[in-house]
């Protein structure tokens, strides 16, 4: 018996005016899979994520999650079903301490429902979650306003906000961009831990080397179309991909 995919995207189209941002995108994602979504700039990766998470409504096509059609649903409803994402541009509340930034996801009905009944001390839970993504407990980092934190911590904060929702599918939009090698190296174990917990993950990345080490499968987009789908090594051998990344003559 074949198991039902966690996420199924079929014949998805999105036009912005005359521009085709997504053109006939199809893929299925099995539970527990870590899929990388790559492609040159402007190839429609973030649009694809926006479509899945409901921030943008598709022109045509269907997205289903656990067999339910979620096309065009409001973002907060999709989050409540268990899909969480991070944003490429991190926008924390800069004047608030890092741990106070965690209050917003912890206030969501999904978290209340999961924990059951009245939610205890959000501050304490926030600090626990931040520790999980590498805010050292004994330091003052978590208490500092987000405005003074280095990019690495802001990205971790963004990740912690997604994890706080206890999602089944996590979509990470360029989590590694703007980070040093050391910072990436310190985040990779967090992602691996999420996988061990059985989370399904989609990662949009430009840092291919790091991505290929952890991804089960890669989808390559170019001009809104899927041009390759498979294991990292296979995908990079494909002529279409080489052409997209290196130019027509390659």
């Amino acid at each position: 018996m074949e198991t039902e995919p966690l996420l199924k995207v079929s014949q998805l189209y999105k036009n912005f005016g005359g521009v085709q941002a997504i053109h006939n995108l199809n893929f299925e994602l099995a539970e527990g899979e870590l899929m990388g979504l790559i492609g040159p700039n402007g190839s429609g990766k973030t649009t694809a994520v926006n479509l899945i998470t409901g921030f943008v409504k598709p022109t045509e096509g269907e997205i289903s999650y656990r067999g339910k059609n979620i096309t065009g649903r409001a973002p907060y409803k999709i989050v409540r079903m268990g899909i969480a994402r991070t944003f490429q541009m991190v926008k924390p509340f800069y004047q608030l301490p890092a741990y106070k930034n965690m209050i917003i996801p912890l206030y969501s009905p999904r978290v209340k429902q999961r924990i059951g009944g009245k939610f205890g001390d959000r501050d304490a839970v926030a600090l626990d979650l931040l520790e999980e993504v590498g805010f050292e407990r004994d330091s003052f980092v978590a208490y500092k306003p987000a405005s003074v934190l280095p990019q690495g911590y802001l990205k971790r904060l963004e990740l912690a906000k997604a994890i706080a929702l206890d999602p089944d599918l996590i979509i990470l939009d360029e989590l590694f961009s703007g980070l040093s090698l050391a910072e990436v190296a310190s985040i990779v174990p967090i992602i691996e831990k999420l996988r061990q917990e059985g989370k399904t993950i989609i990662m949009i990345e430009h840092r291919l080397k790091e991505l290929f080490r952890i991804a089960d499968r890669i989808i390559v987009l170019n001009f809104g179309e899927k041009i390759a789908d498979g294991k990292a090594s296979e995908v990079m051998e494909s002529d279409a991909v080489k052409k997209a990344y290196l130019g027509a003559e390659a």
């Binding site: 907060y76 989050v79 926008k91 209050i103 996801p105 206030y107 969501s108 706080a164």
Partner: protein, 333 residues
Amino acid sequence: MERRKERIDRGIKARSSDIFALSSWREMLYLAAPRLLPVVGLVVLSLALSVYWQRVLLSVSVFALLAISWDILAQTGMISLGQALFFGTGAYLSGIMNHYWGWPPYITIPLATIVGGLLSTIFLIPVLRLRGIFFSMVTLVLPLMLVRIIEATRIFGGTEGLSGLTALPSRWVEIYVLIIVLLSALFGFRRLMNSDFGLILKGINDNDRSVMNAGINVYWFKIQVLFIASSIGAFAGAFLTHVYLFVGMPVFALDYSILPIASAVVGGMGTLAGSMLGAFILVPLSEILRGLGGLRIVIYGLFLVVFTVAIPEGIFHYIQRKYHQFERWVEVE
């Protein structure tokens, strides 16, 4: 013995600004004074003022309520140019209930507060999805529209309005009911805005997509805030109706929309206390300038310009900053 200067709050504030380590009565007073000031100030004012200035105090407090209501909306990212909508709806509702059905003020005022809040919220629900200036435009237009409807259809007394409404038992009841409501609104909603609920609201103002992305229904929160803010405004209107014993088209006037905004800007936005302080400066000032006739508006306008240029952060933020910078001499070992 060597001595140096140290900020008073240095020793008091521990790690975060809402946890305090107090070690003396003086430190306790340092913390309590700003909170006691509005309470003591209002009680003293109410006793010390002449009958005429007591009336001014009523009007000031009503504008302070409208300014607080405006500030709550602004902190959630809804810039309202139409506080008159809330004010007028409350005023007319209590007037109608009193005039046509003969209900006493202690029923009409609370009822008009809640029903007025509900009605105003329902009016604005269709435009909640609009952001920034688009939302503001609609709030500006709605009260102006309601006035014309009353004028054209001659309902509720038309241009004459409804007069001869029931008065409150005495001027002391008037003053103290209003002062109690104003102080409860100030402290209550300040507390609310500092709670996790308030954090969500500020989050919506800052970056609503990020809040949506946390599985939170932004519109539901906006509706709740709209109801809170419009109820405050409706209370102000309903209350003043029973002070003036009259309700008519002027309750939808632009004054009730603009003055609260000016108060919040002069006093300092985002603290509620600042908005209230602004009303306590601007409304009496306008009263003092009354003798100047036409020049009143000019001087008033100049005052506004000077203040916004000199202290763009608002008076309250300025005072707050200075208060935190108070220093004392300490002995150095």
